[in-house]
Structures are given as C-alpha cells and as structure tokens.
Symmetry: C2
DNA sequence: CTAAAGTCCGTAGCTGCTACGGAGTCAAGC
DNA sequence: GCTTGACTCCGTAGCAGCTACGGACTTTAG
C-alpha cells in the first residue's frame, strides 16, 4: 500500500503521515525500488491509533508514550490509565475555563444595547478586569 | 514608564509587548535618548484591552478589529456585537466538542480494570473508531 | 567606579501541521 | 514507443502566538 492509500484509509493528511514518520511516531517503512514508501496493515492500525488519540486531544508526545505502553504487553495498563486520567483532568480544566468565558461573553452581549460605542458593554467588558 | 513596567502592570510578558508592537497591535512608542521605549497610561489601557481579550479567547486579528471599532466612537457597536457573538458561538462549539471528548475518556477510564494490556479498554478505545 | 539589572535588536525555537517547488516514477491510452 | 496525468520524493518555509537566546548597550544602586 502506498502513502496516499494509507492516508485515505486513516483519514490522515498525506503530508502528516510523512511528518509523523519524521518525528518518529511512525516507523520508517520499506521502500519500493523507486523509493516509494510501502505500508501494511500494522501501519494502518498504528496510524489509526494516532489519529484517534489526536481526535481525543492527546498531544503527540503523550501518544508516543501510549504507543510505547501499548507495545509492552506484559505490563499492566496502569500507566495508560494514569495518562488518560491526567488528560481527562486537563480536558475538564479547559471545560471550566470555557464555561467561565462563555458566561462572561454572554453577559457582555446580553447587556449591550447595540447603541453607540460609549455605552457598549462589550467594549467596556473587554477593557475592565472585573469579571461579569 | 518603561517596557518592564508596562508588562508588569498588564500581566503581559515583556517579549510579548514587543511582539504586539511588531505586528502592529500596539503603536510604536516614543523613545528615550538611549532608545528605550517610553509608555503612558493610554498604552496601559490598550494593552489591558488586548490581554483581557486574549484571556477571553479572541484571536489577535479579532482584537485588531475590536480595537479599530472601539476607536471609532461615532459608530454604533453593532459590529462589535457581531464579533462577540461569533466568538461566543465558537466557544460554545468548542465546549460541545470537549464535552463529547470528556464523556468518551470517562467511559474508557471507568470500564478499565487496570489489568493487563490485553484487556485495557483505554487502549482499545484509542484503537477503535467506535464512540463510547 | 563597579556590578547588577534592565533594555535593545534580530533571529530561532515551540506544536502540529500544511503548502510549495522541482524532480523523478508509474499506469493507461493512442 | 510516447505522451499525459496522477502520484511520489525531498527539503524547506509558512501558520498562530508567543518565548527564549545572545551580544551589545544603558541605567541604577551601593
């Protein structure tokens, strides 16, 4: 299978595949005589894993760890669990942040009378340090 | 006031102040004889506005627009309102995304028995394309 | 007067890609 | 056989929004 097939099957951009290889997230594949990269099902699986982990917001270095942990089948998955929990905590922190932010934006927008700039609560809100 | 004072008063990194100047978000300030940047209260206000808008997640080009709109006092703030609403919509989209993500992570973590890698639902979840 | 702290500037680095350009390669049609 | 178009190669540069570095200069405190 060539690079574009791999890309299509995983929903990953072609250039991204090469990028992942460059940073060591994907192994260097075999090459055809002309130098074209040749992939197999193992590569599809691995890239699937990466794409999916990215979709769940894991960073590339976290994914690198996850892949390493996943390959060591004799180990318990406690470290995987820890990584996932840590990531979830970050996601939840981001959620709280966004919630506060949305609330403030809402307040600014709702109290604005769409009048002149002087009375604009949005601009006022952006200037002041006081939370809504 | 010198650059480090401005930075301290606005909670903005010193290098970031220079960066904002470079990209035209802050005006070029007066200079002392030795060439040091000299700032006044207007600069503090403007940078406050920027820092606060960034904290609310606005992009730098959005902030540029907001600053332009804010400076044209004769105009109504309808465009400001539109920008804010558009931004809020993006924040809410991000919220929905994170909620879905958190749910999935939760599920993966909760069903994992912290056993061997083979039965690890987290690794399984990261491999499969099926949502929780 | 000296030493430490502050400032100057341009440039490179960070993450996670994406795009570009010019070359070589492959498959199909005529 | 030859051409055309699609594919692939590689290195490098760009994106946002900073942050850091290095070497020179200036200011300030003791």
């Amino acid at each position: 299978m060539r690079i574009s097939d791999l890309a299509k099957r995983t929903g990953c951009h072609l250039e991204t595949v090469r990028y992942y290889e460059r940073i060591g997230l994907l192994p260097e594949p075999d090459r055809s005589i002309a130098g074209y990269r040749q992939y197999g099902e193992t590569d599809v699986d691995r890239l699937h894993f990466i794409v999916r982990s990215r979709a769940l917001g894991f960073h590339l270095d976290e994914i690198k760890s996850l892949l390493t942990l996943a390959s060591e089948s004799n180990l318990s998955c406690r470290e995987v669990d820890a990584l996932a929990r840590n990531h979830l905590a970050q996601v939840e922190a981001k959620q709280r942040e966004l919630a506060a932010l949305a609330k403030e934006l809402h307040h600014m927008i709702d109290t604005c009378h769409k009048d002149t700039r002087e009375t604009c609560t949005i601009l006022r809100g952006l200037s002041s340090h006081l939370a809504a």
